[in-house]
Amino acid sequence: MINQTLKFVVAVALFAAGFATQASAESQGCIAVKTTAEVEKDVVNDKGQKTKVLVPAGKVIPGTEVVWTVTANNACSQPSQNVTINNPVPEHMTLVPNSAIGPGSTVTYSMDGKTFAAADRLTVQENGVSRQARAEELKYIRWELKGSLQPGASAFGRFRAVLN
């Protein structure tokens, strides 16, 4: 009986150690992130109606609006919490005002990558007067998922920016 108990304790200890190791390894690779760049293209659908579709952006001219999408997929068997997507506005591009969206996420912006807030809460001091930050001054976007990201589920954030 004493032997039995010992064995059990050892087994529990081994299991616990194994679990901890597995959780650590999995959390490092739980979420796979992917970004895409697309542009809207006018097409006529099979009903003869004009509609817009997103096609991959390869080469674009200045003035083109590019749709950037970030997808975060939970590849693990446990849910992930506090999922936060960070994406700077690419260099040479200007954010389209209020274009960042993300289902189930709170979207905030930043000018310096440190202070994040809603776009209308970011201010700039200019000639001694405080004014709201302009879209071209917003250089960073953050999506904070309100709930947890379930195994196999994906969260995505999207924004539009115009090539300068």
């Binding site: 959780a23 650590s24 999995e26 959390s27 490092q28 690779g29 739980c30 979420i31 796979a32 992130v33 992917k34 970004t35 895409t36 760049a37 952006a57 390869g58 080469k59 674009v60 001219i61 200045p62 003035g63 590019v66 950037w68 970030v70 975060a72 693990c76 446990q78 849910p79 992930s80 919490q81 506090n82 999922v83 936060t84 997507i85 960070n86 994406n87 700077p88 690419p90 260099e91 040479h92 591009m93 000018m111 310096d112 202070t115 807030a117 809460r121 970011l122 201010t123 700039v124 001091q125 200019e126 405080s130 930050a133 071209e136 001054e137 250089k139 990201l149 954030g157 090539l163 300068n164």
Partner: protein, 329 residues
Amino acid sequence: MRLPRLLVAAGLISLCGFGATPALAVGVAAGTSIDNTAQVTYTVGSVSATATSNTTSVTVAEILDVVVTLQTPSVPVIAGSTQQEMLYRVTNTGNGPETFHLQMTSTLGGDEFDPVAASPSIYFDTDGSGDLSPGDAPYVAGSNDPVLNADAFVTVLLVNDIPAAVVDGNRGFSRLLADARTGTGAPGTTFAGQGAGGTDAVVGTTGADSDATGQYLVAGVAVNAVKSQTVADQFGGTRPVPGARINYTIIVSATGTGSASASVFSDNIPANTTYVPGTLRLNSAVLSDAADADAGDFSTLPNARVRVQLGTLTQASGSQTIQFAVTIN
């Protein structure tokens, strides 16, 4: 809560100022790679982790755009003159280096005469003088087509001769056309792989070609002088006897649309007469006989004559009345 936000914002002034400065006229340079990488932070249980995305890149395509602007609004010419130049500027308003073709057309409608293309008829204003000078290189299509970087320009002279059979007020148009050698077409036309650094070239809003038309204006001017005289003899009559005085009146006028610059009226004192000192007048104002600040003078060398500087005369100047008197010897 409000105060800290204001302080944070104040600390960003320099950053924002920098961000607003590089407002590029032509857009981001063709061939530039626009890269994007996202990052995700999360926790699983009590362990936090970070994941970084692939880097997605888009390449800036080349916009083909050009603008030709006329620098000389109207060139005054006279009938039969040769090598008359018009100044144009060709600007690459695209976002990458591009080679341009140049072409002149002088047989255009809407004018009264066709300027005759000189040979060569297109020059680069190599010395930047703004007019045709010996240092200016002639343009040879296909040989020295201008290669312009984004936002760069070249100054070009069109050179024409003016036909002899033109009259005052006639206009002759001449046009400079520039087009991108990569190609032209409707805005959005794409030339795959033909842009700077192998990117696509896309026709911009100008259609990748542009022209501007200038005009030569025949601006002739004719200066006429009409001389009249009255005689007063010393006996109260009008007989031209020795001792009688002749009062001359000369009316000078310009007609036409041009201007006669540095006009000078000069009249020799007739033989067998003597100038009456102090009688020279311009528009009733007395001019001293000395060569001084006023417009007129009388001199005896090399021969006796009166002279009046009339400056620039145009039709709008109206007639100028010059008077002087002599006595018969």
